[in-house]
Amino acid sequence: MDFDLTKEQEMIRKEVRKFAQKEIAPIASELDEKEEFSETLTRKMGEIGLFGIFVSEQYEGQAMDYISYIIAVEEIARIDGSQAATIAAGNSLGIGPIYYFGTREQKEKYLPKLCSGEGLWGFGLTEPTAGSDAGGSKTTAVLDANEWVINGSKIFITNAACDLSMGVTVQAITGTRDNGKPEYSCILVESDTPGFKAIPMHKKMMWRASNTAELYFDDVRVPKSNILGKKGDGFHQMLSTLDGGRLSIGAMGLGGAQGAYDLALQYAKERQQFNQPISKFQAIAFKLADSAMEIECARNLLYKACWLKNNKRPYEKEAAMGKLYCSEVMGRVTNHAVQIHGGYGLMKEYNVERFYRDQKLLDIGEGTSEIQRLVISRYIGC
């Protein structure tokens, strides 16, 4: 057994950490406060190669493995959840489906721009009536001669309504299966297609500097060739995309937990009460010890899931476990971190409150914690 990272993976951690500290840390709090998505910062993240991390060089990706990708997300999340969201959604949900299921033409057309960070792509699955239950989807796509005509709406779609947004992959009902259930397909829609509208959603509690959109499709016509893979493959494509996406949400939990823990440990050593650093009180020290232990477990579980994926072994169960566990570890760690900061922990100036807020999404996005437990329980035969 070998727990060492490769030289390249170590270098990636070091360099992404430096980038996050230099470029993100100074403005994270302000972007959060103003609820502002930063195009400039997104482009900078593109310049150092944070998009298309697992995409081959042929499509101008960075040609790295999954552990490298997860380390990059982890290091960004250690500083800021919103920017980590832009990266995780950009790679797993935006680029992933086109790279894994797209035709050569589709890849050549979109991937180079998406891999450089010049453009972003959304993945539209969730609808007002279809959250955990994708079966509640109402959006439809009907073939009319050589065009798909799409009608319906999507909600909570990351990276889909900013100036960099180039389009979305939309899951729509394209027919009925033999068993009477709806047939789903994924279709690529460019942002400037007539009838398509993407509206930014505001007043979020968390990920305030990440772009979230409501999408409206009103007789949107796109060429027949814009379908992703085969007609009827949409459901399978969505499940497979979410399996990979779970690893990146796990990385956000892991990185966020690490970031909050680092802040709490430092604060506990500096803050004096009753003539000693509060880290000397067992009640505080044990919270930190628990956090350190849980972060270690979370990292081992998540990296193992990535290792399985790298080695083309089944990883779906471990991905669900990693997503669930890392999210919940971040929940416990951020809770401790705020508690250790006392009243200051509730003030924006101290940053831990941002980690505390950003964590909550991880229990909900890309399959809620309840749904992860459902997935795991099915894998273990319940």
Partner: protein, 259 residues
């Protein structure tokens, strides 16, 4: 234009360094690329991008220099030579400069870019001694550099009282200040490409020289000592007039700043 950049691996001085019995405790030390050499690498890569220069770096040290070299590859350096010669342990600037001279002579380089000093020893000598051995012009503490034509560059150097602008005929040696640029962070793709690149490993024999020829160190480090840590300031509280009198008294009689 062919550029040779010199790169040294140094102890990360931002971490705590422990000294026991006059020697540095090796355990727990971390090594990084010398910060000024990182500026030199960036300067070379900029000349590559803007003027089509060819870039080679040279580093003296062991296997463990390769991480640092790969980072320079990831930043955009094209070729690297590692002088892996254990018998050079304990060498000083004179010896390093001799070895670098031999490396310089193996290729037809037009420009040597070195950091103006190393953050471990702070000697600031190697680049300058190298220029002497090569009998080439040298400009130190360079803060900007531009190519004029195939055989000339224009550099500005930071002097004590101002900036000097120098037109320099090539070949030449420059040593750069950390204000010349801000070294880039290597991009992901660079890191992956760096993995595939070869490092040319040489020793003194391969360079066509020997320890005798490059000579022994002219200086020797006898002992390391911790520098004194800065003492905390004094705080005065109370009536403004009284404090002023007291501070003036201390400045005059203890610190002796008024003469």
């Amino acid at each position: 234009m062919k550029i040779l950049t010199t790169v040294k691996k140094v102890v990360d001085v931002e971490l705590n360094i422990h000294i026991e019995n006059g020697a540095i405790v090796e355990d727990g030390l971390q090594y990084v690329i010398n910060a000024w050499d990182e500026n030199a690498v960036e300067a070379a890569v900029v000349l590559k991008e803007n003027n089509g220069a060819q870039t080679t770096l040279v580093s003296i040290g062991g296997e463990d220099n390769t991480d640092m070299i790969r980072k320079c590859y990831a930043m955009g350096i094209e070729n690297a030579i590692l002088i892996d010669e254990p018998s050079l342990a304990g060498a000083d600037s004179f010896v390093y400069a001799r070895v670098l001279q031999k490396v310089y002579e193996t290729g037809d380089y037009d420009l040597v870019i070195a950091g103006k000093q190393a953050q471990d020893t702070d000697n600031g000598q190697t680049g300058i001694i190298l220029s002497k051995y090569l009998d080439l012009p040298c400009v130190s503490n360079v803060i900007s550099m531009e190519v004029m034509d195939e055989t000339h560059i224009k550099v500005s150097r930071l002097g004590d009282g101002g900036i000097e602008i120098v037109e320099l005929a090539l070949p030449a040696v420059v040593t750069v200040s950390d204000s010349i640029n801000e070294p880039r962070l290597p991009a992901m793709r660079g890191i992956m490409m760096a993995k595939k690149k070869k490092i040319e490993i040489m020793d003194l024999a391969k360079l066509g020289t020997s320890l005798d020829e490059v000579g022994g160190a002219k200086s020797q480090i006898v002992e390391f000592m911790k520098s004194k840590t800065r003492q905390g300031g004094q705080k005065f509280e109370g009536d403004a007039a009284e404090i002023t009198t007291r501070v003036v008294d201390l400045l005059a009689n203890e610190a002796k700043v008024f003469i």
